[in-house]
């Protein structure tokens, strides 16, 4: 385990944000850390970086214990904050050089690493000072600086949240491109991003992790026997609902039902007998969305 969090507690005043959070991030995974706004994602990440002192609990990075303040474990970590800000008076190249110099890298290695990363994040020909960068450019530079020291663990706090679809796509591509080199943990509330690139996920809810594991396992575990039925008219839905009370209306002339409760054949028969015209009847692939809703019980 590259990152191991055990029983993490943190309150701000009388607001309990983390209530015994436990999480394990396996090596070489792309780990999606999912939760709503204000769930405590940033707090968890900052605690891992020794920027916030936890009330209780233990964090290990690459087997070493994290301490508050100057923590030696940060040498394993590359960090991209939710709103990355860089020295506005520098250019992207100067900033990366500064990063390399701060970590005490050799000049030769530093220059080639700078070139490599500017290439990776598409800022190679950017000569302007960071002052004039867009959100997306800052986010990409943020990934480059986080990767600079070849960290074993890359922690990105909501790297895609404030970006437009193109910027988001670019960032996701970069993150999945670096997964051979490092373990990526990124927080988000956008489930489709997670589905695109993650191998592992954890949901944070009420200060604890409610589900976590391999994305494929979780999908399998929750692989439900759910079906979606859409009819042309609301009356059709009403009729079906009346005949099959276990089905759930899901809005817009649609309902969902589970094969456990109702036989698909019977419903089809019912549709034919009552001459209800349908738009579709399909097996529902479990999406993170549905999982998420199920987890959060809404």
């Amino acid at each position: 385990m590259i990152l191991h969090i055990d029983g993490l507690y943190k309150s701000f005043g009388d607001k309990e944000v983390l209530k015994g959070l436990c999480m394990d991030v396996p090596e070489k995974s792309v780990f999606g850390f999912i939760g709503k706004n204000g769930a405590g994602k940033t707090t968890t990440m900052k605690t891992v970086l020794g920027l916030i002192r936890p009330d209780k609990g233990e964090i290990r990075v690459n087997g070493e214990k994290v301490t508050y303040g100057n923590t030696a474990t940060n040498r394993y970590i590359g960090y991209l904050p939710d709103v990355p800000e860089f020295y506005p008076f520098m250019t992207a190249r100067e900033y990366l050089t500064f990063c390399g110099e701060v970590t005490g890298m050799e000049k030769k290695a530093m220059e080639s690493r700078t070139d490599e990363l500017l290439e990776l994040v598409g800022l190679k020909d950017e000569k302007h000072r960071i002052k004039g960068f867009s959100r997306g450019m800052k986010q990409r530079l943020g990934i480059a600086q986080a990767l600079f020291g070849r960290p074993k663990l890359l922690i990105c706090d909501e790297p895609t949240s404030a970006l437009d679809p193109v910027g988001r796509r670019e960032v996701l591509d970069i993150l999945s491109a670096v997964r051979e080199q490092t373990t990526v943990v990124f927080s988000t509330h956008i489930l489709s991003d997670v589905e695109k690139i993650c191998t592992d996920v954890a949901f944070i809810e009420n200060g604890v992790i409610s589900i976590s594991g391999k994305l494929s396992d979780i999908k399998k575990r929750y692989r439900n026997d759910k079906y979606i039925l859409e009819t042309e008219t609301p009356e059709g839905i009403c009729a079906v609902l009346k005949a099959f009370p276990s089905a759930k209306e899901s809005g817009g002339n649609m309902l969902t039902f589970s094969e456990k409760d109702e036989s698909v054949k019977e419903i089809m028969l019912f549709l034919v007998e009552n001459d209800i015209s349908i738009v579709k009847l399909e097996k529902a692939e479990p999406t993170l969305e549905t999982l998420f809703l199920e987890v959060t019980g809404k």
Binding site: L49, L51, I52, R53, Y68, G69, N70, A72, N74, R75, I77, Y79, P81, V83, P84, E85, F86, Y87, F89, M90, F98, C99, E101, V102, T103, G104, Q145, F148, G149
Partner: protein
Amino acid sequence: MRATIVCIKKEMTEQVRSGRLVILGMVFVLFGIMNPAVAKLTPWLLTAMADTMAETGMTVTVSDPTALDSWAQFYKNIPMALIVFVLVEGAIFTREYTSGTMILSLTKGLKRYKVVVSKALILILLWTACFILCFGITYAYNEYYWDNSVAGSLAFSAFCWWLFGIFVIGLLVLFSAVLRSGMAVLGACGAVVFAMSLANMAKKITEVLPIYLTEGQALICGRVEKGSFTAAIAISIAISFICMAAAVLVFNRKQL
């Protein structure tokens, strides 16, 4: 060591590119020129006014200016220059707290004390350069127009005032480590200096207060002895060191 040098270099680049260096340079040069200029022009202005004054029945006696008048201006104006310095540089730490730029360097394994050391050093360096610039210009003009030798203990009085600046920088660094906002830092520094000038009125403790170092004017006129500064110098140096050390300790535990 190397990381500290890198940080100092970065601070210097920032001073240059943000235009702060130019502002400080201009202000201190301006003050440097103003001191002898005002000393030179005051009698001339008074003479010009003397005629109109005479009409109303007042007589004005105008004496020729000397270097002492110019140095009097210097010690009257240098507090203003220090205030400008603190206003321009007061947010050197807090700016990085609010923008979050410091978090990135620190999470790369940059030791926290190196941030404090590099920023403190750059402040000391800037203050020293600015002070020498201002002092040097006034000195050169004075030497050209008059004669600096009439001012006693000139170098010593300048050293004392410079040291007072270092003391204020010590306060600035400490308060920057403790507080979060630039305004709070400025307020805290101002409050300490203000409290000292109030205490300065209570005669007994005067000579041990760092603010005694600003009595350069009294020193060059010979109103006070060099020896009376020993305590203030020792105490100011001690407090500056304590402030810097405390700043490092506080900053190590600071939540960013």
